[in-house]
Amino acid sequence: MQEHDMSWVRTEMALAQPAPPTERGAYAWVRKNLIGSVGDTILTVLGIAIVVWVLPQIINWAFINAVWTGPDRTVCTTASQGGIQPDGWTGACWAFVNAKFGQFMFGTYPIEERWRPILVAILFVALLVPMLIPRVPRKGLNALLLFVALPIVAFFLLVGGMFGLPHVETPRWGGLLVTLSLSFVGIAVSLPMGIVLALGRRSKMPIIKWLCVVFIETVRGIPLITVLFFASVMLPLFLPEGVSFDKYLRALIGVSLFAAAYMAEVIRGGLQAIPKGQYEGADSLGLGYWQKMGLIVLPQALKLVIPGIVNTFIGMLKDTSLVLIISMFDLLGVVKQNFADPNWATPQTPKSGLIFAAFVFWLLCFGMSRYSMYTERRLDTGYKR
């Protein structure tokens, strides 16, 4: 056998060729994603029809025909309804939102005292932002300030009656202030309650276990409105004569109890995901129950369920809108209350106000869900099997 039988041997790798023209560029993308087959083409046409039908209407209504400023209802009504717009006009009445913006944010909180909720909001953002950025150090101190110190400071600032601040009764609170404070305090209370309930549910002591199971499953089985009814009608009956709760506090108790049951289930999921070896390892080190849970199991379990906790928080933020049924005015409640204002009653007012409220809720919830997805990706390092 001679080595020169083969006439030619390739000694270097072939150079990479660009993909054929049918596989790249805009045309290939369109062919792949829009007109791949007959059915696909029909769907695309249908989709374009929907977009072309809906989008211009929305843009016209919300931007082009919209009224941005104005003193009263005349700017948002047509001539036949007693306004200045031509007949057949439809457009968003952002002037209504503009005029009522202060109320939507603070309810009937006294105007000269509104710097107090604004200050609380600034403090909240100042503490929240470093909490959310993973690289900023001193998370423990930050969490302590955010979840323990801030609520206390906020309580004195918002309620007043001390340090020379005039007292503001909670019935005067309203709007986004109520929505955010209810859900934030709710989460701060329901997280430790949820942890206790979840530990109780996994406890080996039968009585404690069954108490926790009954509480969790009962609360999860009934609507929040029933819990709020319970808190607003039955709690006063439970207390001795003369002792009474503020309505805001009652709503807070209802919302916290409700969220605690859901939180407990989320945390139980985290506890179950921790391998048995961790529990046994802690036992073999001679740690007691609370040391084992506090130092070994819970730090890992809570880290695992951060997305679940954020989801519960999103649900809670959305659910606080139900307090309007026990006649408290959160953001949605204030918006709805203002439909009745004769100064602004137009056919466009309800839609505009509700879309504004929806936008605020959407911004908050969407932001949180995106952040939770980001955390999920960041923490997605261990435990994945």
């Binding site: 792949k32 994603n33 769907l43 009585i207 108490l211 089985g221 609507p223 439970f238 004569e241 509700l354």
Partner: protein
């Protein structure tokens, strides 16, 4: 051999304080004592408060006259009926709205969920926008949007919007033609039941034959032919006993036809559109959860895309989908209590009225809780049966 000495002896405990059994007994006794004393305290307070406010207790009030009207009554009810009957009407309304909502939400949710996995970029984006919008706003807001934003600003009855098939839409709701069945229409119902029974029988036989011989039988088309054909045949044979009662415009209102009130319509649309966004995500996760190898293996066996979806992908996806789907159904049932905000007389609304009229808050809230718990239990029981049928049967 000191260690062996210790091992052979009694396990030494420092003191009985460190015995886990005694500790657990102690803590549980403590909890029970605390629980009972607080219950006793609460009961004591409640009794005292009720006496002070002169409120009766017990469920005797259920037999007295309700004295309020209910706008939607699936069963006969007047203001002279009892409180009990009012609550039953409320419960039935809750069941109606929940059932209708579940059906609509499932259909919309599955369509959107499949759309989010479509090959088609545009459809995928439209479905994503839908899901991201509806998932992030409160359901109560969606209800108000439909109720005060859309339906309340429709034209008054005199200028009703005409829709195809003789239906109308105006401020007061949605008017549809109502089917009026004449004599002999029972035959059609019997034919439908017969057709379903026959289709089931055909399916059983076809499965047996395929197992025995490998021959397939077009079960689907046979069933369609049976279920559509037999009732149509019965309809023709019995002399077409069907007329339609069309809504007619009179001076101030529409008369006749089938009237869907705006409260029901906005509640149904809001609940099902809101829940559909969550169901869509569940369906998407379910289908994505079936590994690609399954599809490829099925294709390698020579199955075409229809059977791959029907026989391989969907049965496995359903296993992932059903448990979270159940909890969405439960959520929808619970969210139907938002009806109270727009005045649809569901269980919460009627129980709330009863509670305000009688002042018997404890009994009222208790009835509400029990009713919702039972509804939740029934829904999860049914879904557990479905789940058990779908679950993987392992050898």
């Amino acid at each position: 051999m000191a260690s062996q000495e210790i091992l052979r002896g009694e396990p030494s405990r420092g003191s009985f304080i460190n015995d886990p059994r005694i500790r657990s007994l102690f803590f549980q006794t403590l909890v029970v004592i605390l629980l009972f004393s607080s219950i006793w305290w609460i009961v004591h307070n409640v009794i005292e408060n009720l006496q002070r406010l002169h409120i009766a207790s017990g469920f005797g009030f259920l037999k007295s006259r309700a004295g309020f009207d209910i706008s939607d009554t699936p069963i006969a009810y007047t203001s002279d009926s009892t409180y009990f009957r009012a609550l039953v009407v409320g419960l039935l309304n809750t069941i109606i709205i929940a059932a209708a909502g579940i059906v609509l939400a499932t259909v919309v949710g599955f369509l959107i969920g499949i759309g989010r996995l479509s090959q088609n970029w545009l459809i995928r984006k439209i479905c994503t926008v839908y899901v991201e919008i509806f998932r992030n706003i409160p359901p109560l807001l969606v209800i108000f949007f439909w109720y005060s934003g859309v339906l309340a600003v429709l034209p008054p009855p005199r200028e009703s919007i005409h829709l195809p098939l003789g239906s109308f839409l105006n401020q007061r709701g949605f008017y549809l033609p109502r089917a009026v069945w004449g004599d002999g229409s029972w035959l059609i119902g019997v034919a439908l039941l017969l057709a379903i029974a026959m289709a089931w029988f055909v399916a059983q036989r076809a499965r047996q034959r395929q197992r025995a011989t490998g021959q397939q039988f077009p079960v689907f088309w046979t069933s369609v032919a049976l279920i559509v054909g037999l009732p149509v045949l019965a309809f023709l044979l019995s002399g077409m006993p069907l007329t339609f009662d069309f809504p007619k415009q009179s001076t101030f209102n529409l008369t006749g036809g089938f009237w869907i009130k705006p409260e029901f319509l906005s509640l149904l649309l809001a609940l099902s559109f809101y829940t559909a966004a969550f169901i869509a995500e569940i369906v998407r996760a379910g289908i994505r959860g079936v590994s690609k190898g399954q599809t490829e293996a099925a294709a390698a066996l020579g199955l075409r895309s229809g059977p791959i979806l029907r026989l391989v992908v969907i049965p496995q996806a359903m296993r992932i989908v059903i448990p979270p789907l159940t909890s969405q159904y439960l959520n929808l049932t619970k969210n139907s209590s938002l009806a109270i905000a727009i005045g649809y007389p569901d269980l919460t609304a009627t129980a709330g009225t009863v509670l305000n009229q009688t002042g018997q808050a404890v009994e009222g809230v208790f009835i509400m809780m029990i009713a919702y718990l039972v509804l939740s239990l029934v829904t999860s029981f049914v879904m557990n049966i479905v789940n058990a049928r779908m679950a993987l049967v392992e050898r």
